[in-house]
């Protein structure tokens, strides 16, 4: 049985390490990106939208073996988006262990909305 206090401690650690991990991945990809493209002109004045491979998890993850800098930064950003989602998923388990049925349902609804946004049909 987990106390509210213990849940808070675990949630705090989860958030901290999630942010640290994603910042490290983003920074590593970022250094590589600046070395490769630092002297080229940027093109952010007009919105064209990102290429298809940077819009979906499959395209982003497929760049890992090749150490593709833009995909690596995007992977770090996806890890950052995943951090609060993991926090909500952990809360489902925590409320289950506390046998708080109302909050298991409430938390599952929130998790459902998040997963819909991340994987749903757009």
């Amino acid at each position: 049985m987990l106390s509210d206090r213990q849940v808070d401690e675990i949630v705090g650690a989860l958030l901290r390490y999630g942010v640290m991990l994603s910042a490290t991945v983003v920074a590593a990809g970022g250094i590589w990106y600046l070395i490769q493209y630092g002297t080229t002109p940027p093109g952010y004045h007009i919105f064209r939208g990102e290429p298809e491979y940077l819009r979906h998890l499959r395209g982003i993850v497929s760049g890992i073996p090749g150490f593709h800098c833009r995909r690596m930064m995007q992977l770090g950003l996806v890890l950052l988006i995943a951090t609060p989602v993991a926090r909500v998923a952990f809360s489902v388990v925590a409320f289950m262990l506390q046998r708080d049925r109302t909050y298991v349902v409430i938390t599952l609804i929130v998790l459902g909305v998040l997963l819909f946004s991340l994987t749903g049909i757009h």
Binding site: D4, R5, V7, V11, G12, A13, L15, R16, G18, V19, S22, A23, V26, A27, G29, G30, Y33, L34, Y37, G38, T39, T40, P41, P42, Y44, H45, F47, R48, G49, E50, P51, L54, R55, H56, R70, R71, M73, Q74, L77, V78, L80, I81, T83, P84, V85, R87, V88, S91, D100, T102, Y103, I106, V110, V113, L114, S117, L118, T119, G120, H122
Partner: protein, 278 residues
């Protein structure tokens, strides 16, 4: 200007925003988008995408500290997140359908609200008032640590707060911001939750709300890794620095300065939107 120079400029703006955001407790996310659009000529959608991701970083980073202090109420947060996440998904879908000039005017209005909030002093705590039976059923009532021991509080107007949270979520998804100021209004004014509990719980909720629209932003191609990288790292560095200096900082003066900056950005944003420059 090449990518290296732009990255350095965006990084500097983000460090400043994160620093002021942490010192004033208002979150720096709301100033990053107008700063990038107005000062650096970056397209509104790219700026919104980058700012939204930075909001997740600062919220998660700060929440990690707050939850351990025992101020934030996880049940209030989780219950209201139903409203904010659904609102955020609706807002993010709508963002693609609304023209940049209307988004710009809305953004200006939200900035004006933030400027107004930041120029006022923190409201004095009120005694617990009307008791909402729904709050008891949902176990929202809680307690928080004070120098004299734990003080308990009761939550009022649960339905009104829930409705306002939907609006806060929709604004967050529509403009790519955390809308922390709106969340605090819902909890502090409508639900009569103590100020410290409202602000910390709001911070805790911002990351989840932003994550709900981030998936849609990513899919729409709003999130450019090269542009978001300096924003996320800069805001994180700035907010860590700000949190270190927080004890002893002249908070009220800083809030006024921040309020003034936000006010100028609001006017500029509305002007650019109305004259069709966005």
């Amino acid at each position: 200007m090449n990518i290296l120079e732009l990255t350095a400029l965006v990084g500097l703006v983000s460090v400043a925003a994160g620093f002021l955001g942490a010192l004033t407790g208002l979150g720096g996310g709301v100033v990053i988008t107008p700063a990038m659009v107005l000062l650096l000529g970056i397209d509104l959608h790219y700026a919104m995408g980058a700012a939204l991701i930075s909001v997740i970083a600062t919220s998660s980073g700060a929440a990690a500290a707050y939850v351990r202090e025992g101020f934030s109420n996880i049940r209030i947060g989780m219950f209201l997140e139903i409203a904010t996440t659904i609102g955020a998904v609706c807002g993010a879908f709508a963002a693609a359908k609304i023209s940049p000039s209307i988004l710009g005017v809305l953004f200006g209005a939200v900035l004006l609200h933030a400027a107004w909030i930041s120029s006022r002093a923190r409201p004095a705590p009120r005694p617990g008032e009307t008791d909402d039976p729904l709050a008891a059923r949902l176990r929202l009532n809680g307690s928080f640590p004070t120098p004299e021991g734990f003080r308990s509080y009761k939550v009022s107007h649960v339905k009104t707060g829930f409705g306002l949270m939907f609006v806060a979520g929709a604004v967050s998804g529509l403009l790519g911001i955390g809308s922390g100021a709106l969340k605090v209004v819902a909890m502090d004014r409508a639900m009569r939750i103590p100020f410290k509990v409202s602000t910390t719980t709001s911070n805790f909720m911002i990351g989840v709300t932003a994550a709900a629209s981030a998936g849609i932003y990513l899919n729409r191609g709003y999130i450019d890794p090269g542009l978001t990288m300096p924003v996320v790292l800069g805001v994180l560095a700035g907010s860590v620095l700000g949190a270190r200096l927080l004890p002893g900082a002249p908070t009220m003066t800083l809030r006024r300065i921040f309020g003034l900056v936000v006010f100028v950005l609001a006017v500029e944003m509305i002007y650019s939107a109305v004259t069709g420059k966005l």
